[in-house]
């Protein structure tokens, strides 16, 4: 035990390593699939597990928390061919609960581990080694973006040591080609966690293929290297891990997405995105300024979308919501004005435009709209004049018409005689009818009673 070294990051002696056979070369990078042989024993020497007995090497993803902490720490320090004894304190193994039935509570475990080798993590769908990942900084949590999720990433692409692109980009997974993001990066991103930074080695079939890229000066059949950071992504609705702050982050994504759709003229989709923003941010007094700002811009943009979609009624609602958040929003009044005008309410509209001019006297667009309003109002007045001009004549006419109609409606006494005459309406039931409530005697012996 002379050469035991404490390799726990905290230096608390939780993971001790004693090298038995030296290895050579690099240490396995995070995220790769490591193949090992191991034998695990308790301190009293009882063997509880051994891959050697199973005659199958054990494989696991390094640094992903799938194995006990001592292993993620210990194996990362070993080289290919190295064999070492890892002594793992309970806090780095199975803790106070143990792992029944073989490992009792609070056990210190000894593993005799030998590194057989490792493969860079292959993310290509066909497992052809086309996309290899080497994690530089592990991401947070467990979620990864799924197909169609909106992501914000930083890309740094290099070929032969020359950086050919270095940019921030937002796109929906699956639509990366619109932002000139190569397939390899898109496929790999589905396995990225929040905040992860990784190096990707991408073969041509997942990059620029046999054609290469003129824009980036990439020759045909080139293997590229990328350093990709996943800064943010849209999580699934079912995810429960978001607190209020993270929801604001998510809302921002939807706003971006909405703006993008808006710019490309897809107003329906943009509306959906802005509505999602509203569903993520709660409008509360304790809401942060950032959240309020999001709410304001989303409502403003929603109003504009609705105007474009000719849904002026909703546009008025959204603009009003925006005004409730910021009673000094020029845009909100202007847009509500536009919508009201379209709804044929120039009177209300003109008040809104007046408010805009009140807030910003030099707003020429509002001035123009004001003119339109005045014109509309005049037209309306004209029209009303026309309508009401012959009002009395018309009323007189309709009145006579009505009288005629009324006359027609009056019952023709002669022809209705005998049908439901007064005496048919109600009468005391006869004894027979009382006993047989389902049978009604017509003009039977019973006495009729007036209603």
């Amino acid at each position: 035990m002379t050469s035991s070294v404490d390799i726990s990051p905290k230096g608390d002696g939780g993971v001790l390593k004693e090298v038995i056979v030296d290895g050579s070369g690099d240490q396995p990078p995070k995220g790769c699939k490591v193949q090992v042989h191991y034998t695990g024993t308790l301190l009293d020497g009882t063997q509880f597990d051994s891959s050697r007995d199973r005659k199958t090497p054990f494989e696991f993803d390094l640094g992903k928390g799938s194995v006990i902490k001592a292993w993620d720490i210990g194996v990362a320090t070993m080289k290919k061919g190295e064999r070492a004894i890892l002594t793992c304190a309970p806090e780095y193994a199975y803790g106070e609960k143990g792992s029944p039935p073989s490992i009792p509570p609070d056990s210190t475990l000894k593993f005799d581990v030998e590194i057989i080798g490792w493969k860079g993590e292959d993310l290509s769908p066909k497992k052809d080694g086309g996309i290899e990942r080497f994690i530089i900084e592990a991401g947070q949590g467990y979620a990864t973006p799924n197909d169609g999720a909106y992501v914000g990433v930083h890309l740094e692409g290099t070929y032969n040591g020359n950086t050919f692109e270095n940019r921030e980009v937002f796109f929906c997974l699956g639509e990366g080609s619109e932002e000139k993001v190569i397939d390899g990066v898109e496929i790999a991103l589905e396995k990225f966690k929040m905040g992860e930074k990784s190096k990707l080695v991408i073969k041509p079939q997942y990059a620029f293929g046999a054609e290469g890229s003129k824009e980036y000066n990439i020759p045909p059949d080139a293997t590229l290297e990328y350093i990709v950071t996943l800064n943010t992504f849209e999580k699934m609705k079912e995810s429960w891990s978001m607190d209020a702050d993270e929801k604001v982050e998510q809302a921002k994504l939807y706003k971006e997405k909405g703006t993008k759709y808006f710019k490309s003229g897809k107003f329906g989709l943009a509306t959906k995105m802005y509505k999602k923003v509203l569903s993520y941010v709660e409008n509360k007094p304790e809401c942060s300024d950032e959240g309020k700002n999001l709410l304001l811009t989303s409502n403003l943009n929603l109003a504009l979308c609705y105007i474009k979609l000719d849904d002026h009624f909703e546009a008025v609602n959204s603009a009003t919501a925006a005004i409730n958040i910021d009673p000094k929003s020029e845009k909100a009044f202007f847009r509500r004005g536009l919508a009201l005008l379209a709804l044929g309410e120039p009177e209300k509209a003109t008040k809104d435009f007046a408010e805009v001019l009140n807030l910003e006297p030099n707003n020429t667009a509002a001035k123009t709209q004001q003119l339109i309003c005045t014109k509309k109002l005049k037209e309306q007045l004209q029209r009303e004049k026309k309508i009401y001009a012959n009002m009395f004549d018309k009323f007189a006419k309709t009145d006579t018409q009505k009288e005629e109609d009324e006359k027609k409606k009056q019952p023709d006494v002669m022809s209705s005689l005998g049908e439901w005459g007064k005496e048919d309406r109600h009468r005391e039931p006869s004894e027979f009818e009382k006993e047989n409530p389902n049978i009604l005697m017509l003009n039977g012996s019973g006495e009729f009673k007036d209603m």
Binding site: Y38, W71, G95, P101, Y142, S241, D243, E282
Partner: protein
């Protein structure tokens, strides 16, 4: 053509005479012509009453001629087959053909195994009769159960031969066989009683054997769920995988062979999804397996230790939905109780932020006042733990606390809310408020800043709602009494609707009793409400 016809006639003749030896000899001599007559001879063989003779001849076919051709023919006939005896005979021949396939022909192997699995899937499942523990033993006498056990038991040698054949290969062939062996643990076997107790069911013994086979191929059960990605022949059946986890982790079948390096938290996260899968089914046995699986996993985790980040996985959402469904709706009291206990323990496994997030989100998916009330009470217990600590988690104070309270203290229709429908939630929420007001005099949680708002949106409307509801119920009681006073003891004409259910079937005195119990509930609520208002004024 002529020759084929003669060959066919000759075979038919031998079969009719039960002359196996000559038939097999004939087949060996006419290897090349077999393919022409397969489509006719296989169905013919299956019509015979003496199935043993047919079996030997079928096996001879599978051993002598092109395995792929026999395979395709058998797949077609198995697909059409409805009799277990004939199916098993064909499986015998199928096995011979599968073992003779060239190693690379994985697709053919997959098709053959898929035919067998499809036959199993077609079997009717046993009725879910909801037996109590000591009655479960009766299931072994059920004819459907007997049939499933018989079929699966009869197929054991089939799968075992395949496993022996491929366990020393590397690569995809092993994976394909593994996936199909695993499928046997799915439908229909998973719907049988698999636990071992005083007695061990036949199904349990079969499933143990299957687990053994799986372990011969791969003892790392955590690697199995990942097999789907590497090779697209066959699929990893979710129900079967969950049942495997139950058998290994809860029932300890072969557990000693499982690699003991996996982290308990990782095992937990994987198992939550699997348990949720088991909860999806109505069958009492499948649900039982889910409850036992999650129980053994929860046993391994310290309370207050899990990170909120685990909630990234949507499976927690599915899990809670499915578990609470069992707690509320299961007909078996043991299940409801066990579920409730596990639910509480599950919630307490998380660290404060996780607890806050789960409770907050649960309020969005739960829709039964009983379970909502219980959850609110759990939150109160969590609060108690928090307030005992020197440094309070920010997730149990101020805006985070208010956010949760907003969801607890809610009258969906203001004054007109049906208080009986919400009773459990209301009582629990008022209890929580009372606790906070009494316990947190120093306002470390910020509760006192929230009470003003709460008064307007909750406490005052509640007061009005109580008056309204009470008047409503008292009127109903009066109506019912008047009616019964008139001597009309039979059906009463007043219908009572509580929580959306009409109580028409009840006799009048029962209705009155029920209405009185509602009045008692109002008393409880009012009492709590008064106490809170008093405390606030103090």
């Amino acid at each position: 053509m002529e020759e084929s016809n003669n060959f066919l006639k000759q075979i038919e003749k031998y079969v009719c005479e039960n002359n196996v030896d000559d038939a097999v000899a004939l087949i060996k001599n006419h290897r090349n012509e077999i393919s022409n007559i397969l489509a006719d001879v296989v169905p013919f063989l299956l019509t015979k009453t003496d199935i043993r003779c047919s079996e030997q001849i079928l096996i001879a076919f599978a051993e002598e001629c092109d395995p792929e051709e026999v395979l395709l023919q058998l797949i077609e006939d198995i697909d059409r087959c409805t009799e277990d005896a004939k199916f098993l005979v064909m499986c015998q021949a199928l096995l011979r053909a599968l073992l003779r396939l060239p190693e690379k022909r994985l697709n053919s192997l997959g098709w053959g195994l898929n035919a067998v699995h499809s036959y199993l899937l077609k079997i009717n499942l046993p009725d879910n009769v909801e037996l109590n523990e000591d009655e479960e033993i009766l299931m072994d006498a059920d004819t459907v159960v007997e049939r499933i056990s018989f079929l699966c038991a009869s197929l054991l040698p089939f799968y075992s031969a395949l496993v022996d054949n491929c366990k020393n290969d590397g690569g995809e062939r092993k994976i394909v066989v593994l996936k199909f062996v695993l499928q046997v643990l799915g439908k229909p076997l998973a719907f049988l009683d698999l636990k071992s107790g005083k007695t061990t069911s036949k199904a349990r013994r079969i499933s143990e054997r299957i687990v053994e086979m799986i372990f011969e191929l791969n003892a790392d059960i955590f690697a199995i769920s990942d097999l789907g990605s590497g090779c697209d022949i066959g699929c990893v059946d979710a129900l079967a995988l969950s049942t495997l986890f139950y058998l290994v982790l809860s029932e300890k079948v072969e557990v000693r062979k499982v690699p003991k390096v996996y982290d308990n938290v990782y095992v937990f996260q994987e198992s939550v999804a699997l348990a949720a899968e088991l909860f999806k089914y109505e069958s009492q046995f499948v649900q039982h397996n889910g409850l036992c699986l999650i129980e053994v996993i929860i046993d391994r985790i310290r309370t207050n230790s899990l990170s909120y980040l685990l909630l990234d996985s949507e499976h927690h959402n599915h899990f809670c939905k499915a578990l609470t469904r069992i707690i509320v709706y299961s007909h078996l009291e043991v299940y409801r109780k066990k579920g409730l206990d596990l639910y509480r323990r599950y919630l307490f496994l998380f660290e404060p932020k996780g607890r806050y997030l789960i409770v907050y989100n649960l309020m969005g998916i739960l829709n039964h006042t009983g379970i909502i009330g219980y959850t609110v009470t759990q939150y109160k217990d969590m609060m108690m733990h928090e307030l005992d600590k020197s440094d309070l988690s920010p997730y149990f104070t101020k805006s985070n606390l208010f956010r949760v309270l907003d969801r607890f203290c809610l009258l969906p229709n203001q004054e007109e809310s049906d208080l009986i429908e919400l009773a459990d939630q209301i009582v629990a929420a008022l209890n929580l408020l009372r606790y906070l007001i009494i316990r947190d005099k120093a306002n470390v949680t910020g509760i006192w800043d929230y009470l003003k708002k709460l008064e307007n949106t909750y406490l005052v409307p509640m007061k009005t709602a109580l008056t309204l509801s009470r008047a409503h119920y008292e009127l109903k009681i009066k109506d019912l009494k008047d009616e019964s006073g008139e001597g009309d003891k039979g059906d009463s004409k007043v219908s009572v609707t509580v929580a959306g259910h009409t109580l028409n079937e009840l006799p009048t005195n029962e209705k009155i009793k029920f209405l009185y119990s509602a009045l008692t509930t109002f008393d409880v609520i009012e009492n709590l409400l008064c106490r809170i208002n008093e405390l606030i004024e103090m």
